[in-house]
Symmetry: C2
Subunit: 142 residues, 2 copies
Amino acid sequence: MPTRRTDPLTLEVVELIGTVVARYHDEYEEAAAQHALTGAQARVLGLLSLEPTPMRKIAEKLKCEPSNVTGIIDRLESRGLAERRPDPADRRVKVAAPTEEGRDVARRLRESLHFAREPLGELTEAERTLLRDLLRRMLGTA
Amino acid sequence: MPTRRTDPLTLEVVELIGTVVARYHDEYEEAAAQHALTGAQARVLGLLSLEPTPMRKIAEKLKCEPSNVTGIIDRLESRGLAERRPDPADRRVKVAAPTEEGRDVARRLRESLHFAREPLGELTEAERTLLRDLLRRMLGTA
DNA sequence: TATTGTTATACTCTATAACTATA
DNA sequence: TATAGTTATAGAGTATAACAATA
C-alpha cells in the first residue's frame, strides 16, 4: 500500500505535473487547430497514421463509446483525410485508414508538437535518463 | 534556441509524459464523474473553492470564451454548488462563489485525486526532489 | 466608447438505446 | 445469440456574433 503524502515537496511535484498536463493539453489542441482539426480528430488521425484500425478498436483507445467514432471518422472522411476499408476476414468490420493527405497532416501535426521535445533539449542526457527512470517508477512501468 | 531531439531516450521520455498526461486526465474525469460533475464543472468548482471569481476571470483561467462560463455556472448554480454575487465596486461584474455544499464537494474532489500522490509515495524524498528540479527546468520555472 | 455578462446559434464530442448486417 | 457498426437523441462544451447594462 503506497503512502499518501501531503508534505510540501510532494504537493509541489503534484502541482508541477498539473502544469505539465495543462501545457501539454493546450499545445496539443493548438497544434490540432492549426490544421483545422479538433483534438479528437487529431488523436484519431494520429492513431490511424500508426496503423489502420477497426472502428471498435478506435473507441477502445479513445475510451469512448463506439457510436462516437462514427462521427469522428465521418468528418475526417469528408475532408479526405481518412477512409473506411472492408475487412476481408469479417464483413462486419470496417477498418479506418488515413489517406495519403491524412498521413501527411498527421506527420506535420507530430512535428508541430514541440512540447516535451524542446523543453527536454534543456536537459543533459544523464538528466533525461534520470527523468525517464523516475517517470517509469511513478507509472509502475519499471 | 533549444535543440530539437529525436533520439530514442528523448522519445521515450516524451511517451512517458504522454502517459502521465493521459492517466492524469482520466483520473480527473473519473473523480469528477463520481460527484456527477463534468470535467469543466469540476475545474471551475475547484477554482471557486480557492477564491470567488468574476465570470470573465473564470473564462481566462479556462482559456475559453466568456459566453461558455455562463452555462457552466448556470449548471453549478442549479445544483446548489455555486452562486452569483454582485460586485459592489462594479455593477457590471458578477462574482461566482461556491456555496457551502460546493466547497464540500470541491474538498472531497481534491481528496479523491490520488494521482501523482500515491505514485509519488513510491519515490524517496531525494528522488522527489530530483523529479521536482527536473520538472522545474523542463517548464522553465527554474 | 469600452467593458461585463448574457443570449442566440451552430458545431463537435459524449453516452444511451435501438437498429442492421454479419458472425 | 452475439458482435461490429450505425442511427437517433439528448446533454454538455466550444466559438462567434449581437445585445443590455454599466463604466
